[in-house]
Symmetry: C2
Amino acid sequence: MPDVSVVIAAGGKGRRMGGGTPKQFLLLGGVPILARTIAAFHPLREIREIVLVVPAGCIPRARALVRRAGFTKVADVVEGGKNRQASVFNGLERCSSRTGVVLVHDAVRPLVGRRTIMSVIRAAGRYGAAVAGLPVKETIKTESGGRRGFYSRTLRREELWAVQTPQGFLFPLLREAHRRARSSGFLGTDDATLVERMGTPVRIVRGTEMNIKITTPYDRKLAEFLLGMPGRG
Amino acid sequence: MPDVSVVIAAGGKGRRMGGGTPKQFLLLGGVPILARTIAAFHPLREIREIVLVVPAGCIPRARALVRRAGFTKVADVVEGGKNRQASVFNGLERCSSRTGVVLVHDAVRPLVGRRTIMSVIRAAGRYGAAVAGLPVKETIKTESGGRRGFYSRTLRREELWAVQTPQGFLFPLLREAHRRARSSGFLGTDDATLVERMGTPVRIVRGTEMNIKITTPYDRKLAEFLLGMPGRG
């Protein structure tokens, strides 16, 4: 197994959630979301270091959380950029040069399971790039080519995947993809998009329905409920 | 307002749920899912009749449920076909010829809200075809054109909608769309797809996150949780 580093990106201020506390510090079952997310990765032997990326004003708070929980693998807490991609870039710049595979994970996906993490690590090592995802259950329509508010066509559901994090990559590949995107001014919705632009096919690994991204008060209530469920995967 | 008929399609046997009871008869907060679904539509003044479509063996059970709950607007309980589309077809054939707008709804979406139903009725009357849907939050990748298990491209999320039911249509339009699909052997994942094939643009109406389709034990537990939440929409 290669050395694995994890970049946990909590760059957003989470304004959709309302209130003054950035969403990654809100409590879930009495524990800050960010602490739960770190705890999902921390015990895995393959993982050598974790780099946290948080908004500038939250660095002391994040450091205190790490110290209190005894997360000894957290190598550093660095400042986020003006968008998610810039935040991940900052985290990558801080990773050890010995990193073989890097995982990128959303700070607000605390319910990720060990099996999903291990599958992404293995597939990233083997194929260069891998993401957790789920087959799309809903019928997806696109407005593309039509009027706004009306859709023009139904996509072939059996070919569609809803992509989550973690996303894993050979470290030099992702670093290069980020540098190229940055110099050309390209913004992607996730890290895999940047690698994809370089022509690298990305392996899809099956995640779980529980690995939700907490962005709204509804999501947070749902996560409280899911905490009590078995089968995190 | 035109006369509105509702076809509630419960044709599936729900094998994914396990156990012997078809999923639409499973209890949710002590009440059968199908009864909750009917109850979401029944009180609306605009709705004149409801046609239930269930597997052949379930007809007596569905009739008993309707009788016990006093759902006087249920005009008939008819037998489902060999797939969802064939079941809806059977329901449409039973609708009153006076129907102006017909809604099609999944029997296993009991948490649909009154506001969503009314919006679909209005938009269907105005534009001919309308579906409830939600903007897609996740990054969606497609395997199209690539190898199975690898994806080749990321779709433009801002153009994507995850489509739910109810779906509403001018009655003659949907009946014609079903007849054409049937005679040409075309199978769509939903009713709007059939109308879309005739070149009719379909209006999208914003639904709610609570309007989930209950197809797995996980969904059922989630629905039990959502029952206690406000803001059904």
